[in-house]
């Protein structure tokens, strides 16, 4: 069963792609990995005049790193991130997160930029990128601009990108020495299902156990991938104890606004947010307190 009729453009550079987006506006559908786009087309939920494919823009498939940051092109597939040594040693939780997306063949197609610009609250990679304090590098007719990822998501399937802009890179600042990061995707039906809750945490443990730069990214428990800001504030600048971890976990759960669906109810997702934030924090501070 095939797709509605549309014209096809495959720009060879970011500039060409942005120009096309400007020309067709919301009458164009961008196809990076193509997973979401193909389902929207097949179910006739969108009937664009033009489909713009990013598959022939080599620069979008590069991973570069410098002193300050790691830059991952928007069209880098989840498989490539998982197997990249550079990403593994700078941002291991991003490798782990990409490794939990769907299944191997899906990871060979789906791109990091594609899933972020889709703005799906249940994204596996967004919580990790939030914990890593990543920024989205967006190119539009007026040139490039950087958007901190925590301000990138507005609502379900709606992001900071407007109709003539393209997400081109995800930039991850090199973590300070002593930063601890962890990632956990919990599903309660089958192992291949969408997450019930995804937790990604990055904490800088300074001298005498004082914690700073606390970032907790949560997935599948709100309309958008979110940061548990209140919970972060509870931990920031303090020596972490078992009690404080419990408090922060409960706070994170209260910040969530989980959806209900066939997989899990709102109440269960909130309860699991508390459980898994606590377990991930305990895993980080294992030596500090008996688990």
């Amino acid at each position: 069963m095939s797709l509605p009729n549309f014209e096809y453009r495959s720009p060879k550079s970011i500039e060409q792609a942005v120009a096309l987006r400007q020309e067709y506006g919301d009458d164009a559908l961008v196809m990076s990995g193509g997973l979401t786009a193909m389902i929207l087309l097949r179910e006739r939920l969108v009937k664009p005049r033009v489909v713009i494919s990013l598959s022939e823009i080599p620069v979008l498939r590069r991973i570069d790193f410098s002193e300050q940051e790691l830059r991952i092109g928007a069209a880098v597939t989840h498989s490539k991130v998982t197997s990249s040594a550079q990403v593994r040693n700078i941002a291991p939780i991003l490798c782990e997160a990409c490794g939990h997306v769907g299944s191997p063949a899906i990871r060979n197609m789906g791109t990091v930029g594609g899933s972020i610009s889709h703005g799906d609250g249940a994204s596996d990679t967004a919580p990790a990128l939030l914990a890593l304090d990543a920024e989205a590098n967006v190119t539009g007719p007026a040139g490039e601009r950087r958007i901190p990822l925590k301000d990138f998501f507005h609502g379900v399937f709606s992001t900071e990108l407007d109709d003539n802009e393209l997400l081109t890179d995800l930039c991850i600042p090199t973590p300070a020495v002593g930063t601890e990061t962890r990632f956990m995707k919990y599903t309660n039906t089958s192992e291949e299902a969408f997450a019930t809750v995804t937790v990604a945490i990055s904490i800088l443990r300074g001298k005498a156990g004082i914690c700073t730069n606390v970032r907790i990214g949560l997935g599948s428990v709100a309309p958008i991938p979110m940061r548990a800001v209140e919970a972060e504030n509870l931990l920031c600048g303090k020596v972490v104890t078992k009690e404080l971890i419990k408090e922060a976990a409960i706070m994170a759960a209260s910040e969530a606004d989980p959806p209900s669906d066939a997989q899990a109810s709102r109440e269960y997702r909130r309860a699991m947010t508390a459980i898994w934030v606590r377990r991930v924090l305990e895993d980080i501070f294992l030596d500090k307190c008996d688990s």
């Binding site: 069963m1 095939s2 309660n188 089958s190 192992e191 291949e192 969408f194 899990a264 699991m272 459980i275």
Partner: protein, 782 residues
């Protein structure tokens, strides 16, 4: 030689060359190279592609349908609604389902209009151009409410539908089937008991999810004859139901089976065929193909009946069961399909494989405006097993008796009489399955024990029995070519379960020829003889017995033809290993030589014809369910589940399932193990993660994104074992195998969860959410 004397004696296994030995299936080479042609791959010249417009409402009157825009869409050949058809109605138990909805729609997804076009895309676009005006009606979605007198009627004119004899219905209500068992005196039974326990259990909508969706192609010739190429399980079901619906003689409906990508009961009756036949009547002879999309598999095909089960059991303090009263209510959705038969089948196995003097069973099949319930691997028995094996452990706990002992005390022995008045005179290995399961379980497990305090271990057991649809008939023709090689013409369908390998083994054994000389291919009802259905785990027993009779018929003919060639009387001749021998002499003549000698060098084919129906099987009495022979054979199984439960998240990890089965003689050992392992994993899916979420008749998760099937990462260690058991009427002692594999799994897991954390879940599926909720309630009580 008359039929009776050819009954197989207990040949000792060593002498057998093929039966019981590993055997290579001859369909696998085509499947691993992508050459096997399934329904979805099948195309014909001039073929049109169809799409159906389906109701978004579960219960609504059709006010108006405007198909004009669709008709003018370029590439559209035909657009039809119910007005373009006589009021055909089909249904295997009761002919209640129209080809296209005419007065009102009764379930979400019911077809209202259909389009045939030059391509799937055109048909898909044209469907969107059909405008329908609905007037939504209040629907009935709770099956208990649907049973109450005065509730919304799904079928106001149920009494006008033609119905198969043995189901009794209650016109003016939503009850379309009511099966009764009355054995002993139930009140007396409860008086004699020390304790009486009443527990309620429920199960959910589960979808077959065969990897190949439903698909079919129909063509109607000038003479009005109907040809259907279909990926179906039981071609003669389709012939009967389609011919009855169209009012055609049976020989005017021809079903040609394509390769089938899994059936599990979902393709046992008509589902896609009515739509393509309705369209083919208007396409001037061009064939019309309809293949369901995956979301149509959820909203437009049949699923496993959700059942509301009330078990009231009277027991002595020592665990002996004196009385069991069962009320089972099957939610069969907008149309009955084969619901009444499923409710009947479930009832007759419902008490469990236990000697119970006083039994009263009422099993109802009830219309609602929910998705359609139909045949699903196990035919109602998995739902009833879930109830009786859960309650058995609940009773064991209440009486402080070990769960194995309480079963041993009540399980059937050879010679016992079932609650439907049948004396179990052969092959009653249910206690052996219990012993074998316990032995296998004690042999230790690969999985190391988790040391985290949050993870708690538990083990649970469940035992079951299942009948097969009886009486039922299978006929087979063995056609021997001039070179002695053989084609078997039979209407049993290879769904993937490996039945053709078993039937080839039986044929090769009976004719004493190599396996390579025996071929079976997909049925075509113009040529292959009658077989009731590929369902109920009945094929080895019934088609196998028919094969033995057909082989006798063939070898008799060869012996008669050999008389002039060997110049000796008929009674001095005997057939063996592909040739006719003169007794106590080494004079023989091969089949090949017989055919050449009898018919001349141009050769001929010789056919052996065999038919089998279990003797002494009478339909059960409608009021009491009693019959001397309820089932051709009874299958038994015991499974033990080992689980770990995370008490904080409620997540269950099944570590191991031990499955011990009594299937009589195993014809194909490797195939048998595959059926058990596949069945156990299907059982685990229905236990832990599979559920069609239906709210007010609407399915909210009709895709694999939200209806989760077990994956390679969800399967436990599975240990299988078969007790040796011999059924004196089975081919080489064989019975049936595939369905029992998924029946006890749910209760075994639930009992293991109770054993681990003392929490009793009585509704399927067992989700982490239910476990957490129950744990909280426990904390409040204790």
């Amino acid at each position: 030689m008359d039929i009776e004397s050819s009954k197989p004696t207990a040949q000792d296994p060593q002498k057998l060359r093929h039966v019981g030995k590993p055997c290579k299936r001859d369909d696998l080479i085509n499947k691993v190279t992508g050459k096997w042609i399934y329904g979805t791959d099948f195309t014909l010249p001039g073929m049109l592609y169809a799409k159906a417009l389906r109701s978004p409402y579960p219960h609504a009157r059709i006010v108006s349908i405007d198909i004009s825009r669709a008709q003018q869409f370029p590439g559209v050949n035909t657009v039809i609604t119910a007005d373009d058809l006589p009021s055909y109605r089909f249904g295997s138990a009761i002919r209640d389902e129209p080809f296209l909805a005419c007065d009102k729609v009764r379930y979400t997804g019911e077809p209202i209009a259909a389009v045939a076009a030059i391509s799937e895309e055109v048909a898909r676009e044209a469907i969107d151009l059909i405008d329908v005006e609905y007037e939504e009606l209040p629907g009935v979605y709770d099956v208990l409410e649907a049973m109450q007198p005065g509730s919304t009627l799904v079928h106001e004119d149920m009494d006008q539908y033609e119905m198969e004899g043995e189901y009794n219905r209650c016109p003016g209500s939503n009850i379309v089937g009511h099966t009764k068992i009355r054995h002993g005196d139930i009140e007396q039974g409860f008086l004699e008991s020390d304790e009486i326990y009443e527990d309620v259990f429920t199960t959910q909508h589960v979808q077959h999810c065969s990897m190949e969706p439903h698909v079919g192609i129909a063509k109607i010739d000038e003479d009005g004859s109907v040809t259907i190429w279909s990926s179906c399980q039981s071609p003669y079901n389709a012939v009967r139901d389609m011919a009855n619906a169209l009012g055609l003689p049976y020989n005017m409906v021809r079903i040609i089976c394509t390769g089938v990508g899994g059936g599990f009961g979902g393709k046992n009756y008509l589902r896609v065929e009515p739509l393509i036949v309705a369209l083919a009547m208007h396409t001037n002879g061009r064939p019309v193909k309809l293949a369901f999309t995956r979301d149509e598999e959820f909203i437009a095909s049949v699923c496993k009946h959700p059942v509301h089960l009330t078990f009231k059991t009277g027991v002595k303090r020592d665990g002996t069961i004196t009385a069991r009263k069962i009320t089972a209510i099957f939610d069969t959705g907008g149309y009955a399909d084969t619901g009444p038969l499923v409710a009947r089948n479930g009832a007759f196995s419902g008490t469990g494989p236990y000697r119970i003097p006083h039994v009263s069973v009422d099993s109802y099949c009830v219309y609602t405006n929910n998705p359609l319930g139909g045949a699903f691997r196990g035919f109602g028995v998995p739902q009833l097993t879930w109830a009786h094996e859960s309650q058995m452990d609940m009773i064991a706990t209440r009486l402080n008796i070990d769960s194995v002992d309480i079963r041993m005390r009540n399980l059937y022995d050879l010679g016992d009489k079932t609650c439907t008045g049948e004396v179990l005179r052969t092959s009653v290995g249910v206690k052996d399955t219990l012993h074998l399961a316990v032995d296998l379980s004690n042999q230790g497990m690969q999985h190391k024990i988790s040391d985290s305090p949050r993870i708690v271990r538990g083990q649970g057991i469940a035992t079951m029995h299942k009948l097969t649809n009886t009486p039922s008939t299978s006929s087979v023709i063995i056609k021997m070519h001039a070179d002695g090689t053989v084609n078997v013409l039979c209407s049993t369908v290879e769904l993937g379960q490996g039945i053709y390998a078993a039937l080839r083994q039986i044929t090769a054994e009976q004719l004493g020829i190599p396996m390579e000389h025996v071929r079976i291919r997909a049925p075509d009802t113009d040529y292959t003889p009658f077989d009731q259905s590929t369902s109920g785990s009945r094929s080895v027993f019934h088609s196998g017995n028919a094969l033995i009779r057909a082989a006798d018929d063939l070898t008799n003919k060869l012996c008669k033809m050999a008389v002039p060639l060997l110049d000796c009387p008929i009674d001095s001749l005997v057939y063996n290993d592909g040739a006719v021998w003169q007794k106590n002499s080494n004079k023989f003549i091969t089949a090949k030589e017989i055919i050449a000698g009898h018919f001349g060098p141009r050769g001929a084919t010789v056919q052996g014809d065999g038919t089998f129906t279990p003797f002494g099987a009478k339909p059960p009495d409608k009021e009491t369910g009693q019959t001397p022979r309820m089932s051709a054979f009874w299958m038994y199984a015991t499974q033990i589940a080992d689980v770990e439960v995370d008490v904080e998240t409620g997540r269950i990890k099944v570590l191991r399932i031990v499955a011990a089965h009594d299937a009589g003689t195993i014809i194909n050992p490797e195939g048998a193990e595959g059926q058990i392992v596949g069945g156990v994993v299907q059982g685990l899916g229905a236990t832990l993660c599979e559920e069609m979420h239906v709210t007010e008749g609407v399915i909210t998760n009709p895709t694999f994104v939200e209806y989760k099937l077990p994956t390679t990462m969800d399967i436990p260690e599975i240990v299988t074992g078969f007790v040796d058991s011999f059924h004196d009427e089975g081919p080489f002692g064989a019975k049936g195998l595939s369905e029992p594999a998924l029946a006890p799994t749910s209760a075994a897991v639930a009992n293991a969860v109770f054993n681990a954390i003392g929490v009793r879940i009585t509704s399927l599926p067992i989700t982490p959410e239910k476990i957490l909720h129950a744990l909280k309630l426990n904390q409040i009580d204790t």
